[in-house]
Amino acid sequence: MGLESNSKLVEVLGEKGRVSLNDWKEAQWAAIKIRREPITEEELYREASDFMSLFQQAVKEAFLSDIRDPVWLKMREMLSALSISRARRGFTPTEMATFVLSFKQPLFEALKQAHGTDSGALLSDVWMTTVLLDKLGLYCVEEYQKTREAIISRQQKDLLELSTPVVQLWPGVLTLPLIGTLDSERTQLVMERLLQKIVDTGSQIAIIDITGVPTVDTLVAQHLMKTIAAAHLMGAECFLSGISPQIAQTVVHLGVKFGDIVTKATLADAFGLALKRIGLVVIKKSGE
């Protein structure tokens, strides 16, 4: 789709163009300032001016409504970088899209003045640019979304990593308190770390506590059973603790059989049993 012969788009965007960059920036600034976002007026002006000059360049080179065309490469790069930085700063997707979409107003205003009474030509220009700006706006939102999702999945990974220390409760007794999602690749690593720690410390007992695991499905169960079997082969015993009533019921319906694995409702119960197994008794000091 190209421009009509009587289009004034290139003209209004040109050197002596009538699109007011300042008006556009002012409108955006007003919308954002209310929330006191960490962005300066100068920054906004620079971004708006970058956008406008890239828009000019692309339109001059060849007006193509397909924004995947190489003509739009620089524009896409700029918008992608902008979306990433705004997503990180906590802007909303609406604010991100508004950056592009609000360009319509000053642009249409300039087109109106340039076309005068030729409403047919004006309509054609407005239609072409509105389609284009909508696409660029959506592109921003998509890029924004990608960044947010990357942030979320990284946080999920961080959480999993953070929340899986192997702790020594007593010489010879280890515990692995699991928290969060268990079915990612990290589970394998976590379980391997437990087995390694069993070797390093020569522990006889390891307690895997799943109090903080919201879902135990077949894959989680399989990971747990494999780890427990491996620990057995290494001469250590593994207890499973922290199985809530709802998880216990679900696991039964699912058909998972933990076999002769020792399970306890709480970590405290499992620790009590562990002490017993290694031949220790806890007694209350007399007179207290």
């Binding site: 919201p214 077949t218 709802q246 019921q249 679900t250 058909g255």
Partner: protein, 134 residues
Amino acid sequence: MDLQSSETLQITCEEDLVRVRQATRARAVLLGLSLVNLTKIVTAASELARNTLTFGGGGTAIVATVHNGDRPGLRLIFEDHGPGITDIELAMKDGYTGGKGLGLGLGGSKRLVNEFEISSRVGEGTRVSITRWK
């Protein structure tokens, strides 16, 4: 939060499985499902979403609020355009796995919900729909 009665989620990677579980959990909370029923449907969602990813090569999950008279429920529909299942009866059997699993996902999910429907065509894909009533 419950402005729409359904939402569609893409299943293309491991993290999407987390999203499917979270969406299921959120809607179950909204419906006021008991903790046991919530845990059951979230677990079934996890199983079916993973099958969609692992065997179906990815697909979609629809998480919807449904009504049977004035009884509300949660319905999940998993769809993929993967290889399909040759023998559904065999696939449903406890302990049967075409991969490296325990072979409990399909049969187990069926036991965790009130309604379970599966249809599949070789070379076209698989669709599983489950419902848990309040």
